[in-house]
């Protein structure tokens, strides 16, 4: 393995779920890399495929009858092609995962310590006493006070933040090289959110693991991620370094995400602009650019042409899937940055309004089938 080989390389990943209503294209040709010790943020609305792509990395969509194609190369091994037994040796060992709701993700009937001990002993041939000592050590590592006593508590005796710390402790049991954090802060109070993010960063520094952090909240990845991938309808629509993405976002969807979060530095008259409509059905996706029904800048041909993720002219590491001209996009973003609404921005660059109305309640998308795991 060469030094340049990333820890995780996802290549053209497709994940489909056949259902009674049709095939759900949950992940549609996604590619990304994560280097050792680095953090990738995957951002998108619910139903954008961000969780499914990560669960597939661990092979956890297999039990759901998912059809998976593409490659997920981890340390030179293609995880898609591995047997269930080979994958099990990697799960919780080389790659660990934490989930959104720490209360429902911990087994309510087992003590926190028992669950930690189990996590240690699946992959390490150690005695129960040694595993228990390790469990106490792990709880201390994630900042749970009095870990020697709390190890015998049940999950319901922990607060939300402590539960997520316990989940993180469990994920770290075998010092994974990659930690996938699926909305790790969504179910927590704002003050606790910051603590958990800081904890993840500190642990990354101490243990040197790579992190994939999945969130719908750009604020979460702004502080923690080195790179960001923005997903929409099962695809990555923009990928850049965090710095670059916040300084010069190129995709109208990313603009929408950025303009819909309040900023402390912006002017007071600046209004929050929600993205109209709702995410498309992943069974019957819109033709052309999947975002065009909700895009304020969409043009007639955007309903026919499917954009590809391509490098931005002046920065090959910044990729975007948008049919608008680069120069036009930059002018639009400049207008939006000045606090103008999408309509004002469109008018000042001389772009005609979209012909079909931006998605209204009338063309609400079909239900996205729940992919329970």
């Amino acid at each position: 393995m060469s030094a340049a080989e990333p820890l995780l390389r996802v290549e053209d990943l497709h994940v489909e779920f056949p259902t009674e209503d049709g095939v759900v294209h949950a992940v549609d040709g996604v590619s990304y890399e994560v280097d050792r010790g680095r953090t990738l943020g995957i951002v998108g609305e619910s139903g954008s495929g961000k969780t499914v792509s990560s669960l597939t990395t661990l092979g956890l969509t297999r039990t759901q009858g998912a059809r998976v194609s593409g490659r997920i190369v981890f340390e030179g091994k293609d995880l898609v092609a591995l047997s269930e037994g080979e994958l099990r040796a990697i799960r919780g060992n080389d790659i660990a995962m934490i989930f959104q709701d720490p209360l429902s993700s911990l087994h309510p009937f087992f003590k926190v310590g028992t669950q930690l001990i189990e996590a240690v002993r699946v992959h390490q041939d150690v005695s129960k006493q040694a595993a228990r000592a390790r469990a106490v050590e792990l709880l201390g590592l994630v900042g749970i006070p009095d870990p020697g006593k709390r190890v015998d508590a049940y999950p319901h005796e922990f607060s939300g933040g402590m539960r997520q710390r316990a989940m993180i402790a469990m994920a770290l049991a075998n010092e994974p090289k990659l930690l996938i954090a699926d909305e790790p802060t969504t179910a927590l109070d704002v003050t606790v959110q910051a603590q958990i993010l800081q904890l993840l960063q500190r642990l990354q520094g101490e243990l040197g693991m790579a992190i994939v952090i999945i969130t719908h909240d750009l604020g979460v990845v702004a502080q923690t991620a080195d790179d960001i991938a923005v997903m929409y309808a099962g695809r990555i629509v923009e990928r850049a370094s965090t710095k670059r993405l916040f300084a010069g976002p190129e995709h109208p969807y990313t603009w929408g995400l950025l303009k819909s979060i309040p900023s402390l530095t912006g002017t007071r008259k600046e209004q929050l602009v929600p993205i109209s409509g709702s995410p498309p059905s992943l069974i019957n996706r819109p033709p052309g650019c999947h975002f065009h029904p909700r895009c304020p800048y969409s043009q007639p041909e955007h309903a026919r042409i499917d954009p590809r993720l391509e490098p931005v002219t002046d920065d090959p590491s910044h990729r975007v899937a948008c049919l608008l001209e680069t120069s036009l996009r930059r002018r639009l973003w400049a207008e939006l940055s000045d606090g103008n609404t999408p309509e004002q921005a469109r008018a000042s660059v001389g772009l005609p309004a979209p012909q079909e109305p931006v998605a209204s309640a009338a063309d609400a998308p079909g239900e996205m089938p729940e992919v329970g795991l």
């Binding site: 661990l58 956890l60 919780g92 087994h107 309510p108 009937f109 003590k111 189990e118 049940y154």
Partner: protein, 320 residues
Amino acid sequence: MTRYIIRRLLWGLLLLVIVSALTFVLFRILPTADPAKLRAGRLQSPKIIAEIRHDLGLDKSLPEQFWVYMKGIFLHFNLGYSYYSNAPVKELIFNRLPATLSLVLGGAVIWFVAGLGVGIISARRAGSKLDRASMGTALVLVSAPEYWLGLLMLFFFASDIGKVHVFPGAGSYAGLTAEPSKWFTSLIMPWLVVAAGTAAIYARLIRSSLLETMGEDYIRTARAKGLSERRVVLRHGLRSAINPIVTVLGLDIAILLGGTVLVETVFDIPGIGRLNYIAITHSDYPIIQGTVLAASLFVVVANVVIDIVYAFLDPRVRYS
């Protein structure tokens, strides 16, 4: 917890008094036959019947009769005497209890183990042919009446009248301490009959409970840890799925202990159900009262036991 249990038991006691009162009134308002007349036999004259009625205390007013009965229970733990055989009801019930216990507990082991096994396999292969076949069989077994299944078994497998002489037939029951091997062989068919319908219900219960549990987030966590699917299902899944089943199991055992009338009658097992059946045909009020009371007691006690077991099974449950 202790205070909670004491409170529950006191409420249970009140319930038992109410049940006794209801049975008392019910069988006297709607008598199966006049017990005094039945007891008088062939030499019936109004005088003899009146004497018998007086001896049995039936000439007193209903509230008075009930008061005497309750006093006997509370002060002397005396359930009265059979009109028919004069034997103490308490003794009759205690003598019959081992047979019913043997039948019900043995049956419970079979239906629980069978239900668990079939339920787990069905849940793991939900939608498969095996799943459909076992759930179909379960439906048939649930629908089959016990006495019919019992007669069918006797017809085919009883060593005396069966087509194939396999198991000892009706009336072959022997006590566990007296003849252990005969106790076991004579109960095989009754056990299977008692267990059949319930096992089918349990298989369906466990299947649906496990299917629901396997969709929980913590099952995903267990898989993400790298546990084998076997361990995920049997340790993490079943641990949660079994909880609602325990409640049902406790109640089912308690209700059956009150008398498996049909099975005990078909196989002629001298249990509480059979005792009750004979008592009703003889209008033997004290025995009816006693067996109904015992049956209610089992249910009350089972409910408290279930609550206690539940607190152990689910650490989130706390009683106050």
